[in-house]
Symmetry: C2
Subunit: 953 residues, 2 copies
C-alpha cells in the first residue's frame, strides 16, 4: 500500500484544533486555547493572557480579577476603565481611544479612555486601531473633523453647502438586460466626486466622476443627474477657455470623455492622416506600432502609463509571441476565447480605466495620438446612436475591460448582480487613399460591452474578442475591376459573334434561328468565362504581388466582407466555364469520323508471280486489321492531354501544402513560406488564396505544357505525331467532320502502295522510307503535309452526310434480336464500302463536281478561327501542320480544360478552405469526365466507323 494521507484544510479543523503546517493535519491546541483566525496556530481564550515559554508552543494564564482585561497585544493583564468586550479586552466608548501603555512603553496599571479633540487646531480623530488620536484628513471644511450641519457629508468627506444639488441619480442602466441597479458605489461616491470635482477641482474626484460616466456606457440625455449628466454639467460650466493641450473637447481638471456632441464628426476625423508612415521592408522598415494607455483606477488615481497588449486589452491567454502580432501593422489579428466569470472576478476585483493613445515616436519629444473610441453601447437620449449609420456616431474616450463593481447593489463588497465585460475590442486602421508612404488615418477603436447577469458565478462564461483590422477604400479597385469586366465583356461579345458567324458558315447555313441564338450564347459563355477568369486571376495576382511585396504600405487587403463581389465573379467564371466545357464535350463525342482504307485487293499482279489473265478478279480480301489498329489508336488518344492532370494536382498540392505556398495567402504582409507554430497565424484571405492557387495552377500547367510539347514530344514520344505516322504506314486516311461542312483530313495513303503485308516487307518499307528511297507522304506530290483542315462545299457535305447516315442507322432497330441483326448488318457494310470508295475518289479528284483545292490558311484566319473564302465551287483543303485535328480531342483543348480544372480547384477550395479536399475532388472530377469522354467517344467511333467496340480496347 503506497503512502496516503487524509486531506485536511485549515477550515476542516475544529474550534480547539489548529492546522499543523508540517504534517498537514489538525492538531489539538493546548489548554485554555482556541485556534486563531487563520487556523494555523492557537491563541489564548478570552480572559487569558499569553505566556511565552522556551518552546514554540504558548501557554495561557488567566488574568487575575483585579486586572481582568487582556491587553491588545495579548501578553498582559490590565484594569479597565469601562467594561470588557467579547474578546476579554477593555472597551472604550465610541470615538474614544484606548491607551494601555505609557509613552516609554511601560504598561499602565489601568487603561485610559481618551476623547480625541476634533476641532481646529488639533483636528484629530481616532486612528484605525482605536488606540491613538491622529489628524483627520483634509476634507474641504477646515474648522472641525466632524461634519456638522449645514455642511453636507458625502463619501466620507464633508462639503460646504451649496455646491451641487444632493439630488443625484446613482443608477446604472443595463440596457441589454433592460433594468437598472441602484449601485452602491455610485450611491457612495457620485455626489462626493462630483462635488469635489466641481467645488474644489479635485483631480482624482474628477477622474472618479468620469469613470462613473464610463461605467454608465457614456450614455446621457440632455437633462439628467446621473454620472454622465453631472459630468456634462461640469464640462459646460468649465467653459471653452480652459481647454487642455489645445483640444477643445478636453477641459482642465476633467478627463476627456467625449468628442463633443456634434454628429458627423466621424467622417471629418478621416481627413488628416497620422504623421507616421508604415513600411514593410527596406531600411525604413516600420511595422510595429505601439499603443500606450494612461491607466486610472476606479477612485480616479492615475496608476501608470502602460503599453497596450498582453495583460490589459488582450484578455485571452496566449503566448507572448502570438499576442505581439496584434501590434504588427498589416497583420489581421483576432483572438477570441471564452473566459469563466469566476476567473474574471478573481483577476478584476475593481475596474481599471484606459485612455488609449497611439505612440507616434520621436525619441524625447514623443507625441501621442489619442484614439477615438466608439462605444457600441452608448446611448444618447435613449437611442443607440453608434449602432446606426456613421453620420450619427459619437466618438468618445476611455474604456474599461471588466467592471464587477458598479453592479453591486447593497454594498461595495457584496456580490454584484451584474458585471460588464468588454466582449469585443476592435482597432481599425484605414489607409489614406493613394498613399505611397504608408500613411493611415487615426485608428478607430470600437468597444462592445456585454452585461452578464450573475446567476451561477462558477459556471458562467463570457466570450471576448480582441481584433485589429486594416482597411482601405476598395471603391477604386472595384471600379477598375468593373471597367475591365465591361471592356473585356464587350470584346467577348464581338468574338463570340465572330465564332457564331464562322460556325454558321461551317454548317453551310445562313438562317438566323433559335439554334443560332443558343449557339451564340454557348460561345459567349466560354468567352465570358475567360473574361471573368482573367479579371479574377489578375485581381488575385495584383493583391498577392502588391500587398505581399510592397515596401511602403500603399494597399491593404479587402476585408472578408468586401470580398463577396470577388467570390461572385469566380463563381460566374466557373459556371460559365462549365457550360463551355460540357458543350465542347458534347461536340467531341458526336463528331463524324471515317477511316478511308486505301489498300486495294492484291490481284495476281504480284511482283513475284506472273499474272494469269483469267484470275483478274481473283482477289484475297483486304484485311480489316489495319483499320482496327488505327481505330484502336484513335480511341486511345481521345483523352490524352498536353499535361499530366494528376501530376498537375500533385505538384500544386506539393507547392501549397508541403512547401507552404499556402502561407502566402495569410492576412499579413510577410512572404516567407515557413511559419513556426509559435508565431501567430492570421486568417486566410480568400482573394490571396485564390490568387496563389490559380497562379500556381496556371504556372505549373504552363510549365507542363512546355515540357510535354517541347521536350517530351521531341525526345520521348508524341502521341499525335505517332498517330499520323501510323496512318501513313497502315495506308489509312482519317476523315473527320466536326461541322457539316468543316473538318479535318489526315492523309495516310501509303507511299508503298500496299501495307497489308508481312513483317519482312513492312520493315523493308519502313527502312526505305527512312532512307528517303520512296516518295513523300504528302497529299500533293513532293510535299510532306499530311494533315489538313477541310472546308467542304455544301454538295460534298450533303453527300457525305447521306452515306454516313446509312452507315450508322443501325443503332435503332437492329438490337432487338440477334437473328435480325445478322441480316440487317449487310447494308451497313455496303454503305461502308460506298463511303470508302466515295471519299477515296474525292481525294483522288475523281469527282469533277466535288473537286477541291489545297491552299495555305492566312495567319489572320488562324487567329480568329474563321475562313474568309466560302467553298462554293470547290472544297478547300487548308494545309495544317499544327495538327489542329486534335481540336476534336482533349489534346487540342488544353486551355479550356486547364482553366476549368483551375476554377474547379479554386471554387472547392474557397468553399471548404482545404486544398487537399480541392485536390481530391478535382481528381475525381477529372476521372469522371475522362471516363465519360472515353466511353461516349468509343461508342461514337464504333458507330461511325463500324469498328466493333471489342477492338477499341
Amino acid at each position: 500500500q503506497p503512502f496516503t494521507i487524509p486531506f485536511r484544510t485549515p477550515s476542516d479543523c475544529g474550534a480547539e484544533e489548529f492546522f499543523d503546517i508540517s504534517s498537514l493535519s489538525c492538531v489539538r491546541c493546548g489548554p485554555n486555547q482556541r485556534r486563531s483566525t487563520t487556523g494555523l496556530s492557537c491563541v489564548c481564550q478570552s480572559g487569558y493572557k499569553t505566556v511565552t515559554t522556551d518552546k514554540a508552543s504558548i501557554s495561557c494564564e488567566k488574568c487575575l480579577p483585579d486586572k481582568p482585561g487582556v491587553t491588545k497585544d495579548g501578553f498582559g493583564c490590565i484594569r479597565c476603565p469601562g467594561g470588557l468586550n467579547n474578546d476579554g479586552k477593555c472597551q472604550c466608548p465610541p470615538g474614544d481611544v484606548l491607551v494601555e501603555r505609557g509613552l516609554n512603553g511601560t504598561l499602565l496599571e489601568e487603561a485610559r479612555c481618551e476623547t480625541c479633540d476634533e476641532d481646529s487646531p488639533a483636528l484629530s480623530v481616532p486612528n484605525r486601531n482605536g488606540d491613538r488620536c491622529e489628524r483627520c484628513l483634509a476634507a474641504y471644511v477646515n474648522t472641525s473633523c466632524a461634519c456638522k450641519s449645514p455642511n453636507v457629508p458625502g463619501g466620507g468627506l464633508c462639503f460646504p453647502p451649496g455646491i451641487l444639488s444632493t439630488n443625484v441619480n446613482p443608477t446604472v442602466t443595463y440596457s441589454q438586460l433592460k433594468f437598472s441597479v441602484q449601485s452602491a458605489w455610485f450611491l457612495e461616491n457620485l455626489y462626493s466626486s462630483s462635488s469635489a470635482c466641481f467645488g474644489f477641482s479635485n483631480l482624482t474626484a474628477c477622474q472618479a466622476l468620469g469613470n462613473m460616466c464610463v461605467m454608465n456606457m457614456h450614455s446621457f440625455s440632455s437633462a439628467s443627474t446621473d454620472a454622465c449628466g453631472l459630468f456634462n454639467t461640469i464640462f459646460r460650466f468649465m467653459g471653452a477657455l480652459s481647454s487642455t493641450q489645445g483640444i477643445s473637447y478636453w477641459r482642465a481638471n476633467l478627463p476627456w470623455l467625449y468628442y463633443g456632441d456634434e454628429p458627423g464628426l466621424a467622417s471629418r476625423m478621416q481627413t488628416d492622416p497620422v504623421p507616421i508612415g508604415f513600411s514593410f521592408r527596406g531600411k525604413n522598415k516600420n511595422t510595429d506600432f505601439r499603443l500606450l494607455a494612461a491607466v486610472y483606477d476606479v477612485r480616479g488615481e492615475f496608476l501608470r502609463w502602460e503599453q497596450v497588449g498582453g495583460q490589459n486589452l488582450q484578455l485571452c491567454p496566449q503566448p507572448k509571441t502570438k499576442q505581439a502580432a496584434a501590434f504588427s501593422f498589416g497583420t489581421a489579428y483576432k483572438e477570441s476565447c471564452v473566459l469563466s466569470v469566476a476567473q474574471l472576478f478573481a483577476t478584476h476585483p475593481e475596474p481599471l480605466f484606459y485612455d488609449v493613445f497611439l505612440d507616434l515616436g520621436g525619441g524625447a519629444n514623443t507625441k501621442l495620438l489619442p484614439l477615438p473610441t466608439l462605444i457600441q453601447n452608448q446611448q444618447y437620449n435613449g437611442r443607440f446612436i453608434n449602432q446606426e449609420s456613421m453620420n450619427n456616431w459619437y466618438f468618445s474616450r476611455r474604456m474599461f475591460l471588466v467592471d464587477t463593481l458598479s453592479g453591486r447593489e447593497k454594498s461595495t463588497s457584496s456580490q454584484p448582480k451584474v458585471i460588464r465585460v468588454a466582449s469585443s475590442v476592435k482597432i481599425r486602421f484605414q489607409l489614406v487613399p493613394r498613399t505611397q508612404e504608408g500613411k493611415v488615418f487615426p485608428p478607430l477603436m470600437t468597444v462592445t460591452y456585454t452585461d452578464v447577469l450573475i446567476t451561477d458565478l462558477n459556471a458562467q462564461t463570457v466570450a471576448t474578442t480582441f481584433a485589429v483590422e486594416y482597411e482601405m477604400d476598395q471603391s477604386e479597385a472595384r471600379l477598375k475591376t468593373d471597367i475591365a469586366l465591361g471592356v473585356l465583356g464587350g470584346v467577348a461579345v464581338l468574338y463570340s459573334l465572330l465564332k457564331t458567324i464562322s460556325w454558321k458558315r461551317r454548317i453551310a447555313s445562313s438562317l438566323i434561328d433559335l439554334e443560332t441564338m443558343v449557339k451564340f450564347l454557348l460561345f459567349y459563355a466560354g468567352d465570358l468565362a475567360n473574361v471573368f477568369f482573367a479579371v479574377t486571376v489578375g485581381t488575385g495576382l495584383y493583391w498577392l504581388i502588391f500587398y505581399k511585396a510592397q515596401r511602403f504600405v500603399s494597399v491593404l487587403l479587402p476585408l472578408p466582407a468586401q470580398e463577396e463581389q470577388f467570390v461572385t465573379y469566380i463563381g460566374c467564371a466557373f459556371a460559365l466555364k462549365a457550360v463551355q466545357f460540357l458543350h465542347k464535350l458534347a461536340l467531341q463525342v458526336t463528331v463524324d469520323i471515317f477511316l478511308i482504307d486505301w489498300e486495294r485487293p492484291r490481284t495476281k499482279t504480284n511482283r513475284s508471280v506472273p499474272v494469269s489473265g483469267e484470275s483478274k478478279h481473283d482477289t484475297s480480301p483486304v484485311s480489316i486489321w489495319r483499320t482496327y489498329f488505327v481505330a484502336n489508336e484513335w480511341n486511345e488518344i481521345q483523352t490524352i492531354r498536353k499535361i499530366s492532370p494528376t501530376f498537375q494536382i500533385m505538384a500544386v498540392l506539393f507547392f501549397l501544402e508541403v512547401l507552404g505556398f499556402s502561407n502566402l495567402a495569410l492576412r499579413d504582409p510577410w512572404s516567407n513560406l515557413q511559419r513556426s507554430p509559435e508565431e501567430y497565424t492570421p486568417s486566410y484571405s480568400l482573394t490571396l488564396r485564390y490568387g496563389v492557387a490559380a497562379t500556381l495552377w496556371l504556372c505549373i500547367g504552363l510549365l507542363q505544357v512546355i515540357f510535354f510539347t517541347v521536350f517530351y514530344a521531341h525526345f520521348v514520344e508524341d502521341k499525335i505525331r505517332q498517330f499520323v505516322d501510323l496512318c501513313s504506314v497502315s495506308n489509312i486516311s482519317v476523315f473527320i467532320l466536326s461541322y457539316r461542312c468543316f473538318g479535318y483530313y489526315i492523309h495516310g495513303r501509303s507511299v508503298h502502295g500496299h501495307a497489308d503485308t508481312n513483317m519482312e516487307e513492312m520493315n523493308n518499307n519502313l527502312r526505305r522510307e527512312a532512307e528517303s528511297l520512296c516518295a513523300q507522304r504528302g497529299l500533293l506530290p513532293n510535299t510532306e503535309v499530311q494533315t489538313f483542315q477541310v472546308s467542304l462545299t455544301g454538295r460534298l457535305g450533303l453527300q457525305y452526310k447521306r452515306i454516313q447516315e446509312s452507315i450508322s442507322r443501325r443503332n435503332q432497330p437492329s438490337r432487338l434480336t440477334d437473328a435480325s441483326a445478322l441480316s440487317s448488318l449487310e447494308p451497313h457494310f455496303k454503305a461502308y464500302q460506298a463511303m470508302n470508295h466515295f471519299l477515296g475518289s474525292v481525294i483522288d479528284h475523281a469527282h469533277s463536281d466535288m473537286d477541291y483545292i489545297v491552299k495555305d490558311k492566312l495567319m489572320f484566319e488562324n487567329v480568329i478561327g474563321m475562313e474568309f473564302l466560302e467553298p462554293t465551287e470547290k472544297s478547300i483543303f487548308y494545309n495544317d501542320e499544327a495538327h489542329t485535328f486534335s481540336n476534336v480531342l482533349y489534346y487540342g483543348n488544353e486551355a479550356t480544360l486547364l482553366i476549368f480544372d483551375t476554377l474547379f480547384f479554386c471554387v472547392v477550395d474557397l468553399g471548404s478552405q482545404s486544398f487537399v479536399l480541392a485536390a481530391v475532388l478535382t481528381y475525381v472530377q477529372q476521372v469522371i469526365f475522362r471516363f465519360l469522354r472515353n466511353s461516349l467517344g468509343r461508342k461514337n467511333l464504333a458507330n461511325k466507323t463500324l469498328v466493333d467496340e471489342r477492338f477499341l480496347i
Copy 2:
C-alpha cells in the same frame, strides 16, 4: 492635423512640477512647494507647513523660528527637543520615539523624545514609524527585547546560547555554472531558521529551513553545515518515533523532503498500485485526475492548498481549455515556451514551494497520495545521482518554479546574480502490468532546474517545459513481436527454400551454385519483407484498436524512445520489399515472349474460287498487322493494375487529411475524427500513424481490388480477358517463358481458320461465335481453356532458346550503320519464321519428341507455386483459367505493388510527418517505376517479337 499631445510621465516632470493626471502634462507647483514622491501632487518644501485652502490646491506657510520643526503630518509647526532632520522635521536619538501630540490629539508646544523600556515586563521597542513604543515580538528570550550576550542574535531574533553552532554555511551552489554564491537570504535566515526549528520546534522556521534546502537542490553531503546538512542533522535528531502520518520519512514539525537515503527505493516504489482505476469510457469513465499542492512561501508560512495547473506548474501562457488537457489521463501533454527573465522577475519576486499530491477522491474522506519527485540537479556527495541509473535514484519532495531570491548576494533586495527556473517539469504515470482496471503506480514527477546567470535582465530568456507522460512496460509486447518475427521468419525461410527449389526445377538445373544462393536471398528478401510488414501492421493495428477503444485502461502507447525498434522493423520491411520489387521488375522486363501467327497464306483453295494446281505456291503474304495489334495491346497491359494507384493515393489522402483520420494517431485516448482548434493537440504517435496509414491504405486497396476484379471486370471491362479474346479473334497465340523451362501459353488459334479478312467476314465470324455456331476456342477440342502454364522438357526449352537467340541477336552489331542493318535483318526474319513454324508444330503435336500433355494443376501445387511432376518425357500444359500469365505483368503482382506502395507511403510519412508529402512522393515513385517498366518492357517486347517499337504505341 489630428490631435496630438506630447508624451509625459510623472518622472519627466521637474523638481518643482507635478504631473497633472487630468491633462497628462507637467504643471508647475505653487510657491514654496515641491513635487511629492509619487510626482502626482505638490507638497510643501521642508520647513513649511501645509495650509489647506478651500480649493484643492494647497498653500504653504513657513514655520516661525520659535517652532521651527514641521510635524510629521505636515500640517503644524512644533518646537523640537533635538535638532531638525533634512525634511525639516524633529529628530530624536536612535531607539527613541518622537511624541508630537498628547493622548487626546492636541498638538504639544514642544515635541518629546522618549526611550522605550526594553526589559521585562514592558518589553517595548519603537514601532516602525518611530513615534510609539510597542511590545517586541516573542523571540525565544523573554527577559529583554535587546539580545544581550551570551544570547545569540540571528535573523532579527534572539537565541539562547548552545542550540546550534553558529558556524553555518550560507552558500548556494550553482553546479551548472560551476560557482557558489554567499546568498544574502541564507546568510540572514539559515542560522535563525535552523536554531528556531531545532531549539524551539518552530513550525514556520522548520519549513523555511526546508525551503532553503530545496533552493539548494536537495543536495547534501554527509558532513556539512549547509541548509540540507542542517536539515538532515535535525531530521536525524528527531528520531524515528516522531514520524508523521505513519510515514517514516516525515518527521514531526519538519517538512518531508527526502525518501530516506537508501538507494534502490525507486524500483521498490513501483510495487504498490494507486488505489484508483482509470477508465476511458462507459459509465465508470474516469479520466481526469487532480493534483493538489500545499503551497508555502519562502518564510515557511503555509499559504493554501492549490490545484496544480494553470498558474502554478504550467508556466506557459495557454488557453485554459488546452491546459486542462494536461490532467486528462492518457493524453500525452507537453507545453514548451520561452519566457523572458524580466517577466519572471515581475511575477515571481519570491519563490513559492509546492508539495504535490495526487487527489485520490473519496468525498469527505479524500485521501492524498504524495508524488515522489526526482530532482535531476540533486547532488549527493558531489555526484548527480539522479542522472545515473534508476538504482541510484534518490527521491525527494517539494519543488519551486522560479527562485529569484537565493541568488541575491549583497542584500535580499539587490538584483540577483543568478536565478533558478524549473525548466522542465515532467509527470510520468506507469501502468501496472497486465492491469484490466486502469491501475497505475504512483506517478513520478521529474524536475530539472536551470541556473540562469543574470547579465542583461531585459534581453534574457529561459525555455520551460511542462509534460505529462504515460508509460507501460513494453518488454512483453516487444517479446511477443520478436517471437512473431522469429516464427514467421522461420516459415519464410522454408517458403523461400521451396521457391528456390521450384525455380531450380523451372530452369531445369539441379546444381547449387552462387546464383542459387543469390536467388534464394532474393526470394527470402521478399518473404521476410512480408513478415516484417505483417508484424508491423499487426502491431500498429493492435495499438490503434486496443489503445483507442479500451474501456478500462489496460495498455498505454509506447513512448517515442520506445518506438525506435518498431521504426527499424518498418525500415527493414521497406528495404526488403524494394529488393523484391526491383527483382520482379527485372524479371518482367527480360521475359521471353513470342507471338505465334496461325494464319496460313491464302492459297487458291479459297472457298469461292476454284484451285489451279500450278499456283499452289502462289500466295499473298500473311498480313503482319494482327501481330502488331496483339503486340500493341500486350504493350498496353504491361502496367495496368488491379487498382487505380492514383485513386488509391487520393482516397487515402481524403480519409487522412479531409475526414481527419490522421487525428486517430494523436497521443490521446479519444477516437473522434474532428478536433476543434481550441482543444489541446498532443503530438503524434509514430506507431499509431503507421497503423492508421497502413490500415487505411490496405483497406482501400482491398476494396479497390474487389471493385475492379468483381464489379468493374464484369460490367465495364477486363483488360486481361479482352487480350485473350483478341488473341483468339486475331488467330495469334502468345508463348511466354518466364524461366527457361517454365512459362505461359495463350492459345489464340482462330476457330474460323482465317482472321486476315475484311470487316464483313470478321463481323460474321464474331457473330457466328456468339451464336455458338462454330467450334470452341480451347486448345483441346471442345474445351474453352485458352490459357496454360507450361512446364517444358529440357529439350524443348533448349530448342526454343536456340531459335530465340538468333531472333534477338541483332541488338549488338546491327545498329552501327543503316546499310549493314538492312542486310543483317534477313536472318532474323528467317529465325522468326522458323520460330513461328516450330512453336506451331509443337502445339500441333507435330514433333513426337517434343510432345506435351494437358492436365489440371493440383490445388496444392497452386498454393505453394511449384510443380510436383518433372517434365522429363513430355512437356506439361497445365490448364490455367485464372490467367496467371499476368504474373509477368504488373497485373499479377498486385500484392507486391500494393505493399511496396504502402511501405513507401508510410516510410516517407514517418520521416516527414506529412501525409501530403508522402502522397506526392508515392505518386512520383509510381510514375517513375511505371515509366521504367513500360519503356524497358516495350524494348524487350520489340526485341523478342521483332515488332517495331513504332507500333507499340
